[in-house]
Amino acid sequence: MASLKEFRNRIDSVKSTQKITKAMQMVAAAKLRRAQEAVENARPYAARMSNVVASLSHSMVDQPGAPTLLVGTGESKTHLVVVASADRGLCGGFNGAIARKAKDLISGLIRDGKDVKILCVGVKAFEQIKRLYGSRIIDVISLRDHKYINSGHAAEISAKILEMFEAGEFDVCTLIFSQFKNVMSQVPTTQTLIPAIEGISESGELPDLGGACYTYEPDEEEILKVLLPRNLTTQVFQALLENVAGEMGAKMTAMDNATRNAGEVIEQLTLQYNRKRQSMITTELIEIIAGAEAI
């Protein structure tokens, strides 16, 4: 049987854990507000960009000489899967859900006989994926050291993807990230980055030109050449921001649960402690009375 002192120690240790989870929850809540703002501020640009790309590609897609970034290489043998997750744990099932989605996609692709290359952004999904597909992972990018994500980080990642694409290292590029719906729900999502036309038919809408025809300066091809890489960056950037917001939301919920759990554990332990103390007092009293009667 545990002594009273042991009980006291356990209650103290759970209390200090509770303090930590409480603090982490509050930090996550503050960061969430910032991250949410960043996502919402970035949305107009992403939305406009995808509209512009949609209307441009609409006129380009059936023409010969359309950029391969838009229509693809004509093959789908090698797939690059970009898995964007968080760099830190303690956020509930957030990273697990992304990793699961990635594993499903990758195993499906392998079953279809495709070559799969994996680029991990954020170490947490990498840690889970490497057990199964370690040999297919070509690189891991960690954004852990950056306090806030800006479009420069996204540009670095998309430059890497583009470089590989131009070297002919893959045909199709898919991005997996977690879409931020609200604090309680983050939905792991797959998005086709290259060929861009597939991503467009998934999300973009055509602007209403009122019957007029677009004039392009210089011409469609030139604009697309600049626009498509930038669109890639924008999509990566948006995904990273959604991820940060989702991570913070998940962390907040997870830490809230942990704080509540700790509270329950403390209550139980306190109850046991008090019972034990009372029974000890009773035993002592009985001993004293019994001793007094014996005299």
Partner: protein
Amino acid sequence: MSPMADKLHFSLVSPEKELFSGGVDSVTVPGSEGDFGVYPEHMPVMTAIRPGAISVMNEETERRIYIRGGFADVTSEGLTVLAEEAVELGDLDPAKLAQEITDAEEDVRDAETEEKREAATEQLEYLQALASAMKD
């Protein structure tokens, strides 16, 4: 005609946030093939932008915003400028900018590696472009 139809709906967005959205009289945009003015009911145009200042005219006042890298998209709904970077020229302090240019020049001189020199040169060119856009 409704009052809104006299105005051009103009929005300026950068990757980080929407910088401006609303009705204006006209906007002059530095297109890659030359500057062009956009008034209400302009025909649809899509063009790349060269670094430079866009000027936004509204009720006799002019706002000048320096933008770098991006696209202008004119539809029947209005003008959208997607800019990689945007700086309000009215907010800039000429003295501070001059100081930054001097610093950048020093950075170029003191750069130890080729990479650093390139980055510093780029920054210097950007600042000089800002300064020259201010003088116009």
